[in-house]
């Protein structure tokens, strides 16, 4: 099974500027998720380089990659990936534990992050007691807590109805504009990308096939 080499991402050259909102588009199997995993430092390229803030992820040790994921990257997923046995507050606090932030400061940071996504009242609930939109907002709060410069979103609205999806995307856009976070989002919904991303990159069979600037969004974010 694992013996066959599959080139999930093949010869793609891509540059993302700080503060940019980029959407990776493509059908399933196009390699967009693999691409995101490479940027997230969850996976390593067999050849080529991934350079984020002047560091080549392919050359980092496992320990350094973990630190990179902790400090530089915030991630949200299609299936939210909250830990079911923990309350929202605990889920959001988890990266702070890994970052060894003082106990005294954590409470405030968690409250702040939950406030930003409007979930303060739900902080003691478990993920299973919340709607999908609420769960994804909690996941956003968790991605935000360590103040990363890079937000990676893998189909963040994939499990949500369109209305809730827009709510979430508004939040992501807000992070991009207000906090200056660079956003790379994987999606297969072109409409969503057109509405929020400054640039759209189209992948198919692991190759980059097209790239479009989104003038309307660019206009909006500049103002």
């Amino acid at each position: 099974m694992g013996e066959t080499v599959i080139r999930a991402v093949d010869g793609v050259s891509l540059e993302v500027r700080a503060g940019e909102f980029v959407a990776l588009l493509g059908t399933s199997g196009s390699g967009k998720s693999s691409m995101l995993n490479l940027i997230a430092g969850l996976d390593r390229p067999t050849s080529g380089t991934v350079v984020v803030q002047d560091r080549d992820l392919a050359r980092l040790s496992r320990e350094e990659l973990a630190k990179y994921r902790l400090r530089v990257v915030g991630m949200v997923f299609q299936s939210f990936n909250l830990i079911p046995s923990m309350t929202l507050a605990e889920n959001v606090e988890l990266p702070l534990r890994f970052a060894e932030v003082e106990r005294g400061q954590r409470g405030n940071l968690v409250r702040e992050a939950l406030d930003r996504v409007g979930l303060r009242a739900r902080k003691d609930h478990r993920p299973s007691e919340l709607s999908g939109g609420e769960q994804q907002r909690a996941a956003l709060a968790r991605a935000l807590i360590n103040r990363p410069q890079l937000l990676l979103a893998d189909e963040p609205t994939g499990n949500l109805d369109s209305h809730t999806g827009i709510e979430i995307m508004d939040l992501v856009g807000e992070f991009n504009r207000q906090l200056g976070m660079t956003v790379v989002m994987v999606t297969h919904e072109r409409a969503l990308a057109e509405r929020y991303a400054q640039r759209m990159i189209f992948l198919a069979d692991g190759k980059l096939i097209d790239e479009q600037k989104n003038a309307a969004v660019l206009e909006r974010t500049r103002s």
Binding site: L42, D43, A66, K67, R69, S85, R97, F98
Partner: protein, 467 residues
């Protein structure tokens, strides 16, 4: 991750699958309990034997004898070999010199002789030994009926129980239960005995020794002193329950006299025959001296000092050292058997944690995606294993202690039925409690080694894909 966070997360994870984790923890507890039970049995037995030995009051005592009597060392009854060369004589000045050594409480001669005691006009030949007044305070006379000597010169006597039986004409068949001391004491206390003995006199005898005296043939050998037959009335004040066979030194006799009284009697002793050349002086020569040391730990030092003076020494330390050896072996065996259950339990930990990895695969993936390092994940599994170990250790110690109490209780009921005194042969010392918990902790960590490493190595991309 910091330790408090690690512990918190570990405990939270353990609570998530309560049933499985508590079963594993119970497994550890049973292992620890068996270890604790085994080792406390060993410790208890050792303490019991030590108590028994201490009861003889000889842990702080050194026996000193002259080098000339090397052959008879430790067996005072059979000294008749030729004197091996000239060395120091164990006489009164030597005794005083020993008494002056630091940490020495007292040094008293062992006076011991076989002579005839008459009770109700029937003669009984027996071994008589002198006891210093300090013997009163040692545990050896704990089970005695009656009282100790009223003074160090009183004409009083304490009988060993088997001799008391002999006096009463009750000789029990072999293997019968030990006689009741109180029963024996009742008809004997306050009665009188007549001791007939041979006195050694420095001056030539005025009267010829009686031909029926046991020591009389020797009188013809020594011109320097003579032997006079004497009689002494003695009042029975106590019956001791000491077992002659279990005793050593001055306790190894059936009849005890106060030391000063015995000294003043100048009873003819076996050594006198060999020290004939020196016997001209009035200073008595002793076959052996008992030296009591302030503290059992100083026995070795004092013993060395006395050896330097040119005497042969023997202390119970020699005996207890070999006993310790035996107990070390016993400990090792009990420890190995006790640990077996713990090792089986440790396999349970491995199993539980490997299962937990499978179940929490996705969770591990999430943690890694949001920044947990391999080390964090590994530490978390270690902490879970360690927490189970410590918890199991604590429960196990309590369980082991409880088992011990129950067995001790049960055995004492049995002992009571057999009309034997209760024994405390089960001891859980603090070091064992600490050791058991630390050991359980370490065993758990070792068991956690493989699962923790496996969890740490999980590929986050694959782990996240896992549903």
């Amino acid at each position: 991750m910091k330790l408090p966070d690690l512990t918190e997360l570990a405990v939270r994870n353990l609570r998530e699958s309560v049933l499985r984790n508590s079963l594993t923890t119970i497994g550890i507890s049973v292992g620890v309990a068996s270890l604790v039970a085994m080792l406390s049995l060993g410790t208890g037995l050792q303490q019991m034997f030590s108590r028994r030995l201490a009861k003889s009051g000889l842990f702080d005592t050194i026996f000193v004898s002259s080098r000339r009597e090397l052959r008879g060392m430790g067996r005072e009854e059979e000294r008749n070999g030729p004197a091996p060369g000239e060395s120091r004589v164990l006489d009164e000045p030597a005794r005083q010199e020993i008494e002056q050594l630091s940490n020495v409480l007292e040094a008293y001669p062992d006076i011991r002789f076989v002579t005839e005691l008459r009770f109700e006009d029937k003669p009984h030949l027996t071994m008589i030994s002198a006891l210093p007044s300090s013997a009163k305070s040692n545990d050896a006379f704990e089970g005695m009926q009656g009282s100790f000597f009223s003074s160090d010169t009183a004409a009083e006597v304490i009988l060993q129980k088997s001799f008391a039986e002999e006096l009463l004409g009750k000789t029990p068949p072999l293997g019968s239960p030990e006689p009741n001391v109180a029963e024996l004491a009742q008809p004997l206390r306050g009665r009188e005995l007549l001791m007939r003995y041979a006195q050694r006199a420095a001056a030539p005898p005025q009267t010829a020794p009686r031909p029926d005296e046991p020591a009389s043939p020797d009188a013809t050998v020594g011109a320097a002193y003579s032997v006079i037959s004497r009689e002494q009335k003695l009042k029975i004040v106590g019956i001791s329950d000491l077992d002659v066979e279990s005793m050593r030194g001055p306790m190894r006799a059936k009849v005890f006299l106060p030391l000063k009284l015995a000294e003043s009697l100048h009873v003819m002793q076996q050594t006198d025959l060999r020290e004939i050349s020196r016997a001209a002086s009035d200073q008595p020569v002793y076959s052996s001296i008992s030296v009591r040391v302030k503290n059992p730990t100083q026995v070795q030092a004092v013993e060395d000092a006395i050896k330097k003076m040119g005497f042969t020494t023997l202390s119970i330390l020699d005996a207890s050292r070999s006993l310790q050896q035996v107990f070390r072996v016993l400990y090792a065996f009990l420890g190995i058997f006790g640990s077996l259950a713990l090792i089986v339990a440790s396999i349970g930990i491995v199993n539980t944690l490997v299962m937990a990895i499978l179940e929490r695969r996705r969770e591990i993936g999430i943690m890694k995606a949001i920044g947990a390092s391999d080390k964090d994940v590994q530490s978390l599994f270690f902490a879970e294993a360690g927490a189970m170990g410590v918890l199991g250790g604590i429960v196990g110690v309590v369980l082991g202690w409880a088992i011990g109490q129950v067995i001790n209780f049960g055995t004492n009921i049995y002992l009571k039925r057999q009309s034997l005194p209760p024994e405390h042969f089960w001891a859980v010392p603090l070091w064992l409690v600490v050791l058991a918990i630390v050991f359980a902790f370490l065993v758990s960590l070792v068991s956690g080694l493989y699962p923790a490493r496996r969890a740490a190595r999980l590929d986050p991309v694959q782990a996240l894909r896992y549903e």
